[in-house]
């Protein structure tokens, strides 16, 4: 009995039916926002899945390479300069091709149209991939004209038998006009720019794409340089050193920077970020309308009571705090079930679409802040009605 009368909470919970409707409404808005955040994260995560799958502490790319899909390369010499920097354990080149990397399936002597996918080449002795599955199959790639196929490549464009390695090997197909044999599969995933992936040895890569350099060694220009550091080296320090030492035509980035920059490109420079932003705003507005409705009708139903409080000497400050409290309470009681349902939806969607939908801390915080903001905003809109309550009309 010592605490002040919790009027906000009491008013909120008094009408159970209205409370349930309010919770459902706000939970729905929360769900909408979580769906947007989830899809966005999942899509952005798939944009940087290659970075996540690569080993290495620092990465070198050409300054002209604004995204992984841009075919801008830097000379081998940069990698050699990087190798000589203190703290470096090893540097490994990664080669990628997209536009000329066209796979045509030959069936009954006829080739289909052919669709581009990404070919990734590397020296088989370099520790480049995390994936145990890839590393186990490396010996098979030593044979000329072989590659591993990404199981998640689009089935409509690359309809190969994925479960049966023997059948896969019997497939007739051409890559960049040359015969290719698929000797196994691995797991990487598609993104906005890439419908599928192949992995092969650097030597095979040079065979398929001799035109990468007009004259000379096609392997002398590199797409991504992977730098592995000694265990006691500080990535940030080494990065700064390389930045100063290396010629200025490359970026040196830590794993986190590389990831962030890539996501930033898709977020800022393509409509994707805007589309998801619009989705989030719609969720926000839906929530605001519902929340406004709940708070407004609560105020409208209690005008006489609030006017009585005014007559008693309760001030504007009290009423604003009261509605603020009510709004924040609403936000939380709606957020909890909304999050629970969203978590369920995430795992269902993950199972169905293969997109990686994970409830991240950042996502949680974002939606929580948005939910509180939307409730507080609608509360402040509705409070004007309360402040208009006139105790003179009570007599």
């Amino acid at each position: 009995m010592l605490a002040k009368t919790p009027l906000a909470w009491k008013n909120l919970t008094h009408d159970v039916r209205r409370l349930v409707v309010a919770i459902c409404g706000i939970a729905f808005a929360v769900l909408l926002m979580f769906t947007q955040v989830g899809f966005q994260n999942a899509l952005f995560d798939s944009q940087v899945k290659l970075i996540d799958d690569l080993q290495g502490d620092l990465f070198l790319i050409s300054k002209a390479k604004f995204t992984l899909a841009a075919e801008k390369r830097f000379p081998m010499a940069r990698l050699n300069q990087a190798r000589s920097c203190p703290g470096v354990l090893g540097v490994y080149p990664i080669y990628t091709e997209l536009t000329t990397s066209v796979v045509r399936r030959i069936e009954k002597g006829m080739g289909n149209l052919g669709y581009p996918l990404r070919t990734i080449g590397f020296f088989l002795d370099d520790p480049v991939f995390h994936s145990e599955e890839i590393n186990r199959q490396l010996p098979r790639l030593r044979v000329q004209g072989t590659a591993l196929l990404d199981r998640k490549s689009k089935q409509t464009k690359f309809p190969f038998p994925l479960d049966d390695d023997a059948a896969l090997e019997r497939e007739y197909l051409e890559l960049a006009g040359k015969k290719l044999t698929l000797v196994g599969t691995f797991d990487l995933g598609t993104d906005f720019a890439h419908d599928g992936n192949l992995i092969m040895s650097a030597e095979n890569f040079a065979d398929y794409y001799p035109h990468r350099v007009r004259f000379g060694d096609p392997l002398s220009v590199i797409d991504i340089g992977v730098v592995k550091l000694l265990p006691d080296a500080d990535p940030a320090e080494v990065r700064d050193f390389m930045e100063q030492t290396l010629d200025k035509d490359v970026y040196v980035m830590t794993r986190e920077q590389f990831r962030t920059e890539e996501i930033r490109f898709w977020d800022d420079s393509t409509p994707i970020g805007t589309i998801f932003l619009a989705g989030k705003i719609i969720g926000f507005i839906v929530g605001m309308v519902i929340c406004y409705q709940v708070i407004y009708s609560d105020i409208a139903d209690h005008m006489a009571e609030f006017a009585t409080l005014k007559a008693m000497g309760y001030t504007t400050r009290y009423f604003i705090l009261l509605i603020l409290t009510e709004a924040v309470l609403l936000a939380f009681v709606g957020f909890v079930p909304g999050t629970a349902v969203s978590t369920g939806l995430y795992s269902w969607l993950s199972a169905r679409t293969g997109l990686l939908m994970v409830m991240t801390l950042n996502g949680l915080l974002f939606v929580l802040v948005a939910t509180v903001a939307m409730c507080v905003a609608s509360g402040m809109l509705a409070v004007r009605k309360l402040l208009a309550a006139d105790p003179a009309n009570l007599f």
Partner: protein, 381 residues
């Protein structure tokens, strides 16, 4: 010297005992509703004084402005013209802070109970206690005893939904009283109550007025509670038509009844006569009336003593001494002759004086006993 005032005898300005400070002082108060062409005056030149510990009942037909006056006194409307002092503070031009402070010293009881459905009776009352920062332990005792007193002891933790209309109204009354307000403004507080609980509420009002010096203004049409009023104010068309101190009027009527010419008058007519009397003061040695002057007033001695002197042509002789409750000056009014004696105050005196025309009017046109009986019977329907 002797001073003639325009203060009515029934205003209670003089009551024979010490005067309490004024809780409410209304002077020349005008109020308007609407603006421009639609501007309509609701209150005209209102004057009202209510003293500490008084219970004032305001009556009048609906639309007479009594509610407007009540909301103005309660700071719920902004005073526009004239002076309105409440608890010693001028409200015309008062700032927000002062208004909020004053509101906390007042208790409002509205016609509708206006309880929060979501809060229990206790919590509803506690909203008022919390606001003034009452110590929670003290508040708890006070809320419990108030609700028990109002017959809700067994329903303290019930929500309004499970209370009857009268019970809700009593919770609202407890809410208006819990913070020991200095001024209580109530609008038909007993309308929703039965005889017994209505009586309990007004008894509570009386105790608050007597024991805690609480001033209470009640707007009501409930004539069952008229007996608690110290003063009855009647408003018609935005004007205070009569403002009568009940006890003092009873005293005057008692005195007037002893006057043989008025002996046959009914209480109703006596009260009307009392209403027309004005207060008149005199210091020792003051000549109130002089022998030979034309007579224009009839005097009733409210307090003090006077000497009656008659000049028989050679010397002035004291023939009598008059005291409280006695009267003089009637002969000249009845016979239209000059004063037949001189009256000199020998103590500080207060008289209630009735003008010649009024005096005659009472005698000539006042209803006869039978006529008034007919009136009374007619009104019974």
């Amino acid at each position: 010297m002797n001073s003639q005032t325009t203060i009515p005898a029934t205003s209670g300005a003089y009551s024979g005992s010490m005067q309490m400070p004024r809780t409410v002082q209304v002077q020349g108060l005008n109020h308007y509703f609407g603006e421009g062409d639609l501007r309509k005056q609701a209150l005209y030149e209102n004057h009202l004084e209510v003293r500490r510990g008084e219970i004032v009942i305001m009556t009048g037909p609906s639309g007479s402005g009594k509610t407007t006056l009540l909301t103005l006194i309660g700071t719920l409307r902004t005073a526009q013209e004239g002076s309105l002092k409440v608890l010693g503070n001028e409200l015309n031009g008062a700032d927000r802070d002062l208004i909020v402070r004053l509101r906390k010293e007042m208790g409002f009881i509205f016609q509708a109970h206006n309880l929060f459905e979501s809060l229990t009776a206790y919590q509803n009352v506690n909203m008022a206690a919390e606001l003034v920062g009452l110590d929670p332990m003290i508040a708890e005792g006070r809320i419990t005893s108030l609700l028990t007193r109002l017959g809700l002891g067994h329903r303290i933790h019930y929500k309004p939904k499970s209370l009857s209309g009268g019970q809700k109204q009593r919770v609202a009354i407890a809410r208006g009283l819990v913070h020991k307000p200095k001024l209580i403004l109530a609008d038909e507080p007993t309308a929703a109550l039965d005889e017994k609980s209505g009586r309990e509420v007004v008894t509570l009002f009386q105790e608050l007025a007597r024991d805690e010096g609480c001033t209470i203004i009640i707007v009501t049409h409930d004539n069952r509670i008229l007996d608690v009023a110290d003063r009855i104010v009647n408003m018609v068309d935005g004007r205070i038509k009569s403002d009568v101190a009940v006890k003092e009027t009873a005293v005057i009527c008692d005195f007037l009844k002893d006057f043989p010419l008025f002996a046959d008058l009914t209480p109703n007519t006596l009260a009307e006569v009392a209403d027309q009397m004005m207060i008149h003061e005199a210091q020792p040695g003051d000549v109130v009336i002089r022998q030979g002057d034309a007579g224009d007033l009839f005097y009733l001695i409210r307090s003090g003593r006077v000497d009656v002197l008659i000049n028989d042509g050679t010397q002035e002789r004291k023939v009598a001494e008059l005291k409280q409750g006695q009267y003089f000056g009637e002969a000249a009014l009845i016979t239209d002759e000059p004063r037949n004696a001189t009256i000199v105050a020998n103590q500080p005196c207060v008289f209630y004086a009735l003008g010649k025309d009024n005096f005659r009017a009472v005698l000539e046109t006042s209803a006869t006993f039978e006529e008034e009986l007919r009136q009374a019977l007619f009104r019974r329907q």
